[in-house]
Symmetry: C2
Subunit: 290 residues, 2 copies
């Protein structure tokens, strides 16, 4: 039997202008790594698209390539409902490769509107939790670390997240394709306020009776606590700083307390993601007991 003919690639100029407009938006959000004009972000791959569809985020569109159609069955219960008002688009493998951010794209992507949250919603105690536990990323520069920390925090029951505004302690966007992938979808489930000024946040935390803990890489002169010395059942915001430099000194000192993970002498420090895992685990352990 002769091999099946390769499906002819559709050249872009044969697409309708509506199709072209969608592909441009997917390209900007995925390969470009930037939100589209209306603020949607791109997620790619069957698992992440599934997480997006399961989340409470608004879906703008879902796109399958020819070979990506093999994932349609898995996603069918989530896109076949009559109440889903978004278009499900189809393109060629060649065009999909041109818009994808990954080297070997799975052929399925979605444009997603991250939900917007007020500070009141951020500070709320969700059902099943004893008190808010907020992760504040203040200067985490690697999108992979941002995603991993959000995933770990969510895994251990964090109730919300904040990323600091650009500037000296600016944090990579939690919604970039790399960060979304590393978060395994947690960035779409966890209530997040992105790009907030740290000064405003610290004031609001105090006003709302939420204890502000600074995670310190080195044991500070100012008394610092071991993770197990902290009562994690209180309302808490945990500040995590830059991978190399840690938190800015003024932030460390204006926090209600400083935490330091004690270690054997010849190992300098844990990496940012491992340190966050340890701190959120300790919170989870104590809250489980309650």
């Amino acid at each position: 039997m002769p091999p099946a003919p390769k499906s002819a690639a559709v050249s872009p100029d044969l697409l309708t202008s509506r199709e072209n407009r969608w592909l441009k938006q997917f390209r900007m959000a995925l390969r470009g790594g930037l939100p589209t004009e209306d603020g949607s972000v791109g997620v790619e791959g069957a698992r992440l698209v599934e997480e997006a569809l399961r989340s409470t985020c608004r879906i703008e569109a879902v796109l399958f390539s020819e070979s990506g159609e093999r994932h349609r069955e898995r996603l069918a219960p989530l896109i076949g409902r009559p109440d889903t008002g978004f278009p499900v688009l189809r393109t060629t493998d060649r065009l999909f490769e041109g818009i994808a951010d990954t080297e070997h794209p799975q052929g399925v992507a979605a444009l997603v509107q991250p939900r917007k949250f007020s500070l009141d919603e951020l500070f709320a105690t969700p059902p099943g939790s004893c008190a808010p536990l907020i992760v504040v990323l203040a200067g985490v520069q690697d999108p992979g670390n941002v995603g991993t920390i959000l995933r770990t925090a969510a895994a251990f029951g964090a109730t919300a997240a904040v990323t600091s505004a650009t500037g000296q302690s600016g944090t990579a966007s939690p919604y970039s394709p790399k960060s979304l992938r590393a978060s395994a979808g947690a960035a779409l489930h966890l209530p997040i306020v992105a790009g907030l000024s740290l000064a405003i946040l610290l004031t609001q935390l105090k006003l709302n009776g939420i204890h502000c803990l600074a995670s310190c890489v080195h044991e500070e002169a100012a008394a610092s606590f071991s993770p197990w010395q902290v009562d994690w059942c209180q309302p808490i915001a945990l500040l995590v700083g830059n991978e190399g430099a840690g938190l800015p000194e003024d932030i460390v000192h204006s926090a209600d307390a400083r935490i330091h993970i004690p270690m054997a002498t010849y190992v300098e420090s844990l990496n940012a993601a491992a340190a966050a895992a340890v701190l959120f685990y300790e919170a989870f352990r104590q809250r489980q007991k309650h």
Copy 2:
């Protein structure tokens, strides 16, 4: 003033055959990522070379490039002693770049003989520790993860490490340049037996009264414990499996107990390094109390 002339690069054929022999060995150990004929491994960068010099490993040689000489002062107290019997070599920046494993080499490297340990030494309780706490890497394939897990384990008081022999659950070498870098030198300080058969290890652990705990990615049908339900002050070997597949099923079932890190439902699992950080932190927390 005219710019200073660039120092003329020495062409390889102007080197003595002894110098050539050393450079070949550095090249194999660094860029090649393989131990030399006599089993030495290569470490690169001022910090890692310093860790090697501080460790009890035998140093075969230290190499500086022209620009790497700026690190000599920092290392002088460790290489200037009359009892150090290794050669300190010098080469050009161009030749150093040709042997280095990193893109922007710091111009300082060492050839190091990892120490060999017997199982008796591995199972010993070092001074200051209540009981052995051994990390067993069984199928960890990424050298970066191997290094990170060793670093984290050492940070939280692990007393020794084992890596499994090649095969289905073979683990990347703890002494490859990438693993050594990720370990931040911990692989040179921690007693390690590399490439051991898991069957032999499990038998020896039982004979020596060391409890064998399997770290499980998913909650197993067979009763599994949360990390805080385990008494970590006993003699313990913690088995960590492959990044994707976890530990082989027969290993999970022949272990004395299974541990699972409980998590919120929508996050599938922690990555291997973060999971190891959490488990060793819990051991450290309990042992600190003792």
